[in-house]
C-alpha cells in the first residue's frame, strides 16, 4: 500500500462518518487521501457506502462526523455549486429540454462566461469526445454510448480539477463499456484530472484505476493498486470480492515467520502465508486463486503439502480450461489452466493431487 503524504493530498477524508437515521452508520470512520491527478476507484457491493462517500464529496450529503478536505481546505460547509467539482451520473442526467450544446454550455453560462468563449469551449469539449457533429441534437436522439460521451464532456467542459463518476458505464453493453473505460482513463490522464470513480464492477475497477478502494460495511477494506489488490488481498472479503477465489476453512496449526501451516477441517494440512492470523489455534479462511493451483507435480516443491482432489466438472472456455473439483469438503473449488499445447484435460471423476506455492496461498481472517 502506497502511503500518501497527507500534506500533498488533493482530496482527503478525515475520520468521516455518515448516518441517515441516527442509528446505523452507513460510512464508518473513513480515512482516505488522494494526490492530485490520481484515478481512484471506489469499489464495493451495493450498500457498502461508496456512493454515499461520493455524494459527500460532491456536497449532496453532509458528513455526520469528520472532515472532508479539498486542496487542503475543509469543504463540509461549502454548497455543491461552489465546489467546482465535475460529476458524471449513472443515468447521465443530460437535461432533456436542452440540446447537446446547450447542455454543455450550461455550466459555462452559470459561470457567466461570454458567448464566444462558451461556444469555443463547448466545441473543444465536444471534439474531445468525438461528438463535434452532434451539438444540435437532443439527448433523446442519441444512443447510450453517445449520451455517455456528452455527459463526460459536460463534466469536463468547465475544466474542474476533480471529477466524480457514479457508475457511469452501468447502462452500456459490454463492448461499448470496454471502449469507454479506455476513453475515460485516456482523457483523465491526458487532462491530468483527479478522478473518483464509483463502480461495483471489479473488472472496471482493475483496468481503469491507479488505486482501488474496496468498500464493505461502511469501511475501506483495502486501498491498493489493482495488482496488489488482486494478488495480495488483505482480508477474506477482498479476496472473495476481487476476482475468482477459492476458500478453504481451517485452524492455524503453527506459525513460523512468514509461513504457517493450516489444518483444514477434514484434517489435511497445507502451507500458507499468514496475513491477518497471528497465533496458532486461530480459525482462518485460506484463499488461493484458481490459476495458481497446480496439479502438475513436476512444478511443485518436493516438500510442498498437497491435497487430494476429485474432478467434478470440466468446463471448456476457449482460452482457458476450468475445472470444478471437490477439495477438503469444498465442492466448489475451481482450478484454471491456460489452453496451452501441453495442457492436460482432466475428466470428471478423476482423482488427482493438487498443490501450490506457499506464497500464493494466504491465510486470512475467518
Amino acid at each position: 500500500m502506497t502511503d500518501i503524504d497527507t500534506d500533498a493530498a488533493f482530496v482527503e477524508f478525515q475520520r468521516v462518518q455518515k448516518s441517515y437515521d441516527g442509528e446505523n452508520l452507513v460510512v464508518k470512520d473513513l480515512n482516505l487521501a488522494m494526490p492530485k491527478g490520481e484515478f481512484l476507484t471506489m469499489l464495493g457491493p451495493s450498500g457498502s457506502g461508496k456512493t454515499t462517500c461520493l455524494m459527500m464529496l460532491a456536497g449532496f450529503e453532509t458528513a455526520t462526523h469528520g472532515e472532508i478536505l479539498l486542496d487542503g481546505k475543509p469543504i463540509n460547509n461549502i454548497p455543491p455549486h461552489k465546489r467546482g467539482i465535475g460529476m458524471v451520473f449513472q443515468n447521465y442526467a443530460l437535461f432533456p429540454h436542452m440540446t447537446v450544446a446547450e447542455n454543455l454550455s450550461f455550466p459555462l453560462e452559470v459561470r457567466k462566461l461570454d458567448k464566444s468563449t462558451r461556444e469555443e469551449k463547448v466545441k473543444r469539449a465536444l471534439d474531445m469526445v468525438q461528438m463535434g457533429a452532434f451539438g444540435n441534437r437532443r439527448p433523446a436522439q442519441l444512443s447510450g454510448g453517445q449520451q455517455q460521451r456528452i455527459a463526460l464532456a459536460r463534466a469536463l467542459v468547465f475544466e474542474p480539477e476533480l471529477v466524480l463518476m457514479d457508475e457511469p458505464l452501468g447502462a452500456l453493453d459490454k463492448q461499448l463499456r470496454e471502449h469507454m473505460q479506455f476513453e475515460i482513463t485516456r482523457l483523465a490522464h491526458e487532462l491530468g484530472i483527479t478522478t473518483v470513480y464509483v463502480t461495483h464492477d471489479q473488472t472496471e475497477a482493475l483496468t481503469m484505476s491507479d488505486r482501488v478502494a474496496v468498500f464493505d460495511d461502511g469501511r475501506i477494506q483495502q486501498l491498493a493498486p489493482p495488482d496488489q489488490l488482486y494478488e495480495e488481498p488483505e482480508n477474506s472479503f477482498v479476496a472473495q470480492f476481487i476476482g475468482e477465489n477459492n476458500t478453504l476453512e481451517g485452524v492455524v496449526k503453527s506459525i513460523d515467520g512468514d509461513t504457517c501451516v493450516v489444518q483444514l477441517d477434514d484434517g489435511s494440512e497445507i502451507d500458507a502465508v499468514p496475513i491477518n492470523v497471528h497465533n496458532a489455534g486461530e480459525r482462518t479462511k485460506v484463499s488461493i486463486r484458481p490459476e495458481r493451483v497446480e496439479f502438475n507435480k513436476d512444478r511443485l516443491h518436493a516438500d510442498a503439502h498437497t491435497l487430494k482432489a476429485t474432478v467434478k466438472e470440466f468446463i471448456y472456455m476457449g482460452d482457458v480450461f476450468r475445472f470444478r473439483m471437490s477439495v477438503a469438503g469444498n465442492d466448489e473449488f475451481i482450478v484454471k489452466t491456460r489452453n496451452a499445447p501441453d495442457a492436460i484435460r482432466l475428466q470428471p471423476g478423476q482423482e488427482i493431487e493438487i498443490g501450490w506455492l506457499a506464497q500464493d496461498c494466504r491465510a486470512l481472517d475467518a
Binding site: 460532491a58 456536497g59 449532496f60 454548497p79 455543491p80 455549486h81 461552489k82 465546489r83 467546482g84 467539482i85 465535475g86 460529476m87 451520473f89 449513472q90 443515468n91 442526467a93 437535461f95 432533456p96 429540454h97 450550461f106 455550466p107 452559470v110 459561470r111 459536460r154 463534466a155 468547465f158 466524480l164
Partner: protein
C-alpha cells in the same frame, strides 16, 4: 433461401397462402378481439353520451314548431311584407283560424305560445287566451275572420305579432344562437337585445375570466405541494397524498356547504377575524355570494386535479438532474428555474387544462356560494333547462360553451403543444 423469396411473385407463408393475406388474417382476429373488448363501453358511451348530446345540440337550431303548428299561416305569410307596417290580409287570418282550430284540438297552441314568448313577451298569454274562442270558430262558415280575430285579442291586430311569427317560421333558426350572444332575430335581421337584456356575453366573459383566475390560483397553490410530494420519501408522500385525495371522498355538496359556513358574514372566518380585532365588527368581509366566494371554493375543490398531474410529472424528474446542475455550479434558483421548472411544465399544462375545462362548466359550487355576481354560464343554462324551459337557448349556450372549450384547446395546442401535456 425459401421458395417464396426466389419467386418473383408475392411472398408466400409456410402454408402457401400469400403472406399479406395470412398476415391480415392473423391480425383480423386481434382487431376483432380488441373491438369486442371495447364494444360494451363504446355502446354505452354512444347511447348515453353522444346521442343525447347530439340531440341536445340539435335543439339549438331546431325550430319546426311554428311550421308544424301553423302550416297554412306560414305559407300565407310568405306574400306579406313584414316591413310594410300594415296588417296582413284576410287570407292570412283565414289560414290562421284553420291552423288554430287544429292546434287547439291538439292542445299544441300553448306550446307555440311559450316558444314565441321567448322572442316577444306576451305571446304566450295571447295564444292561451285566444285559444278557447278561436277553437270554437268554424273555418268553413264563420268567415271572414280578420275582424273577429282582432276582436278576440287585440294583439292580432298588431303587425309586430305577425312579423314575429313570420321571422321565426323557418324550421332551422339561428335565433337561439343570436339570443345566446345577446342578439335577436328581427324582420330587419340580427340586432342587439335591448341593453337591460344583455347578460349572456357578460356571463360568458365572467365565466372565462373566473376560470382563468381559478386555474392560476390552483397552479400557485398546487406547485409547491406537488414539489414536496414528489421529493419526499415514498412513505411520507403517500401519507400526504391521502390528505390531498381526502376531499375526493367527501361529497361535493358537503364541501361547498362547508365553505358557506366558513365564508358567510357570521361565518368562521369573519368571526375569527373580528375576534382577533383584525376586522371591525361593522365591516365584516363580504366573501360569499360574490366572485370571491366562487373563486375560493372552486380553487379548493379543483385543487386535487392540479396536484395529481403535477405530482406525477414531477415524480418522473430524477433528482440527478438538479444534482447535475448544482455540480456544474448553478445556484438553487438557477437550478430550479433552468432545469426543474421547464421539465415540470407538462404537469402544469395537464393540470391547467383539466382544471380550466372543469371550471368553465362548473355548476353546483357557483350556484351555492356564487350569489348573483358569482354565477357561471352553466347556471344560466341550468336555469333555461329547468325554469324557463327554453331548451333551445340552453342548447345554444351549451354549444357555444363547447365551441369555446374546443377553441381554447386548439389555441393551447398551438402555444403549449398538446404533446407537452403528461398525466404521468
Amino acid at each position: 433461401m425459401t421458395d417464396a423469396s426466389q419467386n418473383a411473385g408475392p411472398m408466400l407463408a409456410a402454408d402457401g397462402t400469400p403472406l399479406k393475406q395470412s398476415l391480415a388474417r392473423s391480425l383480423r382476429r386481434q382487431k376483432l378481439r380488441a373491438l369486442l373488448l371495447v364494444a360494451p363501453l363504446l355502446l354505452f358511451v354512444l347511447f348515453s353520451f353522444i346521442v343525447p348530446i347530439a340531440s341536445m345540440l340539435f335543439r339549438s337550431v331546431e325550430n319546426s314548431i311554428v311550421q308544424e303548428t301553423l302550416p297554412l299561416t306560414v305559407e300565407a305569410l310568405q306574400s306579406w311584407d313584414e316591413n310594410s307596417g300594415e296588417l296582413p290580409d284576410e287570407a292570412v287570418y283565414d289560414a290562421f283560424v284553420r291552423d288554430m282550430v287544429v292546434a287547439v284540438d291538439n292542445k299544441t297552441h300553448t306550446r307555440l305560445g311559450s316558444r314565441l314568448n321567448y322572442e316577444e313577451t306576451g305571446m304566450s298569454s295571447m295564444f292561451r287566451r285566444s285559444g278557447r274562442k278561436m277553437g270554437k270558430l268554424d273555418p268553413e262558415t264563420d268567415g271572414p275572420f280578420k275582424a273577429q280575430v282582432i276582436e278576440i285579442h287585440e294583439g292580432w291586430g298588431d303587425p309586430k305579432t305577425w312579423a314575429v311569427i313570420k321571422t321565426h317560421s323557418p324550421a332551422v333558426t339561428n335565433g337561439y344562437f343570436l339570443n345566446a350572444v345577446d342578439m335577436r332575430r328581427t324582420p330587419e335581421g340580427a340586432q342587439s337585445q335591448p341593453e337591460d337584456k344583455q347578460i349572456l356575453i357578460k356571463l360568458f366573459g365572467r365565466t372565462l375570466f373566473m376560470s382563468l383566475v381559478i386555474t392560476a390560483s390552483c397552479i400557485l397553490l398546487a406547485y409547491p405541494v406537488s414539489y414536496l410530494l414528489a421529493t419526499l420519501p415514498m412513505r411520507v408522500s403517500n401519507m400526504l397524498m391521502i390528505l390531498v385525495l381526502l376531499p375526493f371522498w367527501t361529497s361535493l355538496l358537503v364541501r361547498t356547504s362547508a365553505w358557506k359556513v366558513m365564508l358567510q358574514q357570521q361565518g368562521v372566518i369573519n368571526e375569527t377575524l373580528v375576534w382577533l380585532g383584525l376586522v371591525a365588527d361593522d365591516a365584516r368581509l363580504v366573501i360569499i355570494n360574490n366572485q370571491i366566494g366562487t373563486i375560493i371554493a372552486m380553487t379548493h375543490i379543483l385543487l386535487p386535479f392540479m396536484i395529481l398531474p403535477m405530482y406525477s410529472v414531477m415524480q418522473t424528474i430524477p433528482p440527478s438532474y438538479t444534482r447535475a446542475a448544482k455540480s456544474m455550479g448553478a445556484t438553487n434558483w438557477t437550478t430550479f428555474w433552468r432545469i426543474y421548472f421547464p421539465q415540470s411544465i407538462p404537469g402544469i399544462g395537464a393540470g391547467s387544462i383539466l382544471v380550466f375545462i372543469l371550471a368553465i362548466g362548473y355548476y353546483i359550487t357557483p350556484e351555492i356560494v356564487g350569489g348573483t355576481k358569482g354565477v357561471f354560464i352553466s347556471n344560466r343554462i341550468a336555469y333555461h333547462i329547468s325554469s324557463s324551459l327554453n331548451w333551445g337557448l340552453a342548447a345554444a349556450l351549451g354549444t357555444i360553451l363547447l365551441g369555446v372549450v374546443l377553441l381554447l384547446y386548439w389555441v393551447y395546442d398551438k402555444i403549449v403543444g398538446i404533446d407537452n401535456v403528461k398525466l404521468g
